[in-house]
Symmetry: C2
């Protein structure tokens, strides 16, 4: 079965917003076993929406329209679809009552044009909008299924997963249809090309599951994709391949699917009952901010000092002035002192020190932009080393943060043994 | 003149990546005065790319294709366009030499399939790729112009702005064509509905320039759009309206267009020769990280302490234990002490203290999730107050950060008088 997505809204054509709805819907449709061969975006214009529908109808058995369901004059989606199908729209009394109640609860006036949000093609299934005022609609007509969904992603995604998917499963998708599923393995501390080289034969012999590599700001993601009836069957299909990959490059693997590097570290810090604190210079608190982005982070994170000026490095953090004078603020020695000192000051079991040059200014021939020293201090271990990251200021700060997170991840593996 | 954008790549149809190229190109084409009525995405499939070209050709005089220019077998864009136009591809010796040199410089082997990146339609203009290996192409054929651009946004955007726009201006766009320009006014500290209410009559009487409101994580943006021959004429057209808006709600206006709240603060801190430091609890270093995201931030930012545990609040930051015992770690008093103490410790002119409950855990009936106290301390002034932010953990932390930035912005206005 072929599906097509038509996004409606002049703001898309003017480049005022990014279309995230097609990405979301495409991924979900793949999982449902519906092939998507085309996306179309079109403005709030009846004739052009009609043209897009005509073309899509010639190629697909499921057409999903998003956007243009609001109360204003430029919202034309339902009207245009009705005209395309030679059907009429009728006010649904229950939906109208719901709308009136919605406005009454907010003590705001319901204007005339809001009424059209309660209009539907007779016989169509109304899709509830729990996140906004415009309901959606699902119907079948002359061998083609149509889904009408709102444009705002928060409304659209909820309506699709809660109401449209069950409707599709019941009415449109043949039972036993195989969907396309993906499983992502996330690596850190290894480059894209090295990972590809170490898994070369797996890439060559791939048919299903297929493999795809994706470099992502300091991490490398490996996506395994296969067709299966459901998630469980999919996991069985990919199991031998995942085991093989783990055996070869498991030491760089930190998480799968939606789990992020910091999530996996947070879980392990809590499991091992460890605490951490950070002393940062060029990252300016980015590591601290990432470590505290996880709910419950107060269980393992004690605190952080962003020592941006040398004065703060010596006075508050207590890095000896002689060390900075002899080696410079950006040096392995300073990073080491920062890691040790924050550990002592906060009483944490782990201390991280980061100092470097994020740029674009401040670089020199012996200490260029992108040079960053990172140190990890623990009671039983002290690591420190220098890195040379490339990219703009934000990229350098992000890479330093990910490298520091990876140091923590490595320590957690060591401490477990 | 009508333009259409065709994005090519199966990963788009599987929902594996978000299509940011169409947003970028649409905005630029609007500025060039080219109407875009349709976007299409299609997979790496010759027949379907041909179909998309046929449809686009019937509606547009400029067709932009992005993606599918790489060396691998599924990269079909140039071949398919050549077939569509009944033209052939020929290897360009100069481009082939460049490619060979590129691989030689990296000491990596140039495989056979890389050669096709040097193939072009004879007579076409080659668009240089300064960010990758696949050059683009521009040509005119039977009354229609074609631009072939690479898929990776960093390559595509550079090639478009540097090489495609000059080609379009010289060959395709009639001189004097009016483009659609936008100017964004950014507000903070005022809600979307209040701003709309205060500018209500301007919205009603709008024809050109048109006005559009957009709420964006703690900020509200107002977009003014009008047609003009160039940016200068555009600024003249919108000037009276901008003046009127500034008179009414100027106190909430912090920046325009691409300038962010932190950019505008950074500039003003530097201009007034002021320094700032932060003491953060629930934001976990987010404010520090944002304040140091601007190049040259060491001129105004001294340092920060993330005092996540109460122990750190008392021992390192020096908030009296009695204050925390009497009022709690999340209290106006603690925030005030944090702001004062970080100012004293670092010797900065401004100190910011933030303490609150970002959730999802840790809330209680009298101190619910989302309660945040923020204080600003200066030699001549002390502000502190409580806020109740809604949303998830990340949203609460972001709103607290933006509110703190807005406090700094307000202080900078006061200190200037």
């Amino acid at each position: 079965m072929n599906g097509e997505i038509i996004s409606i809204g002049t703001e898309l054509l003017l480049g005022q917003i990014i279309n995230t709805n097609t990405r979301y819907l495409s991924e979900k449709l793949a999982g449902l076993g519906i092939n998507v061969y085309y996306h179309t975006s079109v403005g709030d214009n009846k004739k052009r929406i009609m043209d897009a529908l005509t073309i899509a109808r010639s190629r697909a058995q499921l057409i999903i329209l998003t956007g243009g369901l609001g109360p204003t004059d430029d919202d034309l989606t339902k009207e245009t679809l009705a005209e395309f199908l030679n059907l009429s729209l009728e006010i649904n009394p229950e939906e109208l009552a719901k709308l009136k109640e919605f406005f009454a609860r907010r003590n705001s006036e319901m204007t005339e044009n809001n009424i059209k949000q309660a209009a539907f093609v007779p016989g169509a299934t109304i899709l509830v909008n729990d996140r906004g005022t415009a309901p959606g609609m699902a119907l079948q007509h002359e061998g083609c299924a149509y889904l009408i969904l709102p444009g705002p992603p928060v409304e659209m995604e909820h309506m699709f997963s809660q109401y449209a998917v069950p409707w599709l499963r019941e009415n449109v998708i043949p039972p036993g249809t195989k969907g396309l599923f993906s499983h992502v393995l996330k690596f850190v501390g290894i480059g894209e090309s090295k990972l590809e080289w170490m898994l070369k034969d797996l890439f060559v012999r791939q048919t299903e599951p297929t493999l795809a590599l994706l470099a992502k700001s300091g991490e490398v993601h490996l996506r395994l994709t296969a067709r299966a009836r459901d998630k469980e069957e999919f996991l069985q299909i990919i199991f031998p391949l995942v085991r093989e990959i783990r055996e070869r490059v498991g030491e760089y693997l930190f998480a799968t699917d939606e789990v992020s590097l910091v999530d996996s570290i947070a879980e392990e810090l809590k499991a091992q009952n460890l605490t951490v604190s950070t002393a940062e210079s060029c990252t300016g608190g980015m590591l601290s901010q990432v470590l505290t982005s996880v709910p419950g982070s107060s269980l393992y994170f004690l605190g952080s000092i962003t020592a941006y000026s040398n004065d703060i490095k010596t006075k508050i953090l207590g890095v000896p002035e002689e060390v900075i004078a002899a080696h410079g603020a950006v040096s392995q020695e300073t990073a080491s002192f920062m890691a040790n000192r924050i550990r002592e000051l906060t009483g944490s079991m782990l201390g991280i020190g980061i100092t470097g040059i994020a740029g674009p200014g401040g670089g020199s021939s012996d200490k260029p932009v992108g040079l960053v020293y990172i140190a990890l201090a623990a009671s039983d271990l002290h690591w420190s080393s220098g890195y040379h990251f490339t990219g703009d200021r934000d990229t350098i700060r992000q890479r330093a943060t990910i490298t520091a997170l990876n140091l923590i991840r490595k320590y957690l593996g060591v401490s477990k043994r």
